[in-house]
Symmetry: C2
Subunit: 153 residues, 2 copies
DNA sequence: TCATATAGTATGGATCTCATAAGATATGGA
DNA sequence: TCCATATCTTATGAGATCCATACTATATGA
């Protein structure tokens, strides 16, 4: 059917707009916290995946290991993370996110969270489930695509 | 109802994951095109909003005017944009996105577009409309939130 | 006409990125 | 065990980027 394709394109366009908007929002929040965009991205990945080693985080974030060292130095100095050296492999380091500054971040994202609550209030429970599943599938799709091209290179 | 709140939080979490994934994907695409993340963001904003002046784009992207000059220099040198000086106000410049390199970008985003098509194939037309509306509302919410805090500062 | 405001860009110092190298540790075979 | 090689992280330094400031050109309004 023709409508399906058109709606699909609208979804992709809306997704692009949403990405921009979330990027700008993050940029603004980062500014208040004196964090570069990439610093926030790293913190976000750590929050999602839990403690990682620098090499794994660098690969996952698409950054050069030496670049990540600089980022971790900044994050450590500002009290966002700690570097632990107590693993079976003593070359390795574990990055641990400190809870100390969590409330600051929470406060800065609060306006967007409230705005999202307003959006969500218009939907039924079943519709919310549908949306949640769609978002998870889209994220997983992104992960698959990224994983494939990472393997090739 | 308790379920609503939980599902809402799941949506927010999924949105966070999706944001990360799209950021990483953009970072990867940018790498192939020798573009910084912020360069791609600017191109994306221009694609969304049409031709803009440097000052407007700088404000919209949350960047210092001098920073944007550097970005525009890069984009111009690489053949992404042109700077036009033909407006009523002769101090002003209009940034125009050139179509020349559009196909390159299209090709690089193609894998993600295909992956999204696979995701979308599981939904009915009505469900797709629901999702599209949700995404548009979320983007609009982000815009409102950002607009408010921009006014304050 | 001219004082002031605005758009965009040049300048230069601080900061960031990353290729390379170095140091520390691990691993596997002789 | 000993050692060659690989791996993890970080130091170093050159080049790129960011941005406060200053500057030029143009506009606006008294």
């Amino acid at each position: 059917m023709r409508h399906r394709r058109r709606t699909g394109n609208e979804i992709k366009a809306a997704l692009r707009d949403l990405r921009i908007q979330l990027a700008l929002l993050n940029h603004q929040v980062g500014g208040e916290l004196a964090l570069k965009d990439v610093d926030l991205d790293c913190l976000d990945i750590l929050a999602r995946d839990g403690s990682l080693t620098p090499s794994v985080l660098a690969r996952r974030a698409g950054l050069h290991p030496a670049t990540l060292t600089g980022i971790l130095d900044r994050l450590e100095d500002a009290g966002w993370i700690a570097r632990d050296r107590a693993r079976p492999d003593r070359r390795s380091v574990t990055i641990r996110v400190l809870p100390d500054r969590g409330m600051e971040v929470f406060r800065l994202y609060q306006p967007m969270m409230s705005a999202m609550d307003d959006v969500l209030a218009d939907y039924t429970e079943a519709e919310l489930e549908l949306i949640a599943t769609f978002l998870r599938r889209s994220a997983a799709a992104g992960e698959r695509v990224l994983g494939r091209s990472a393997v090739e290179s």
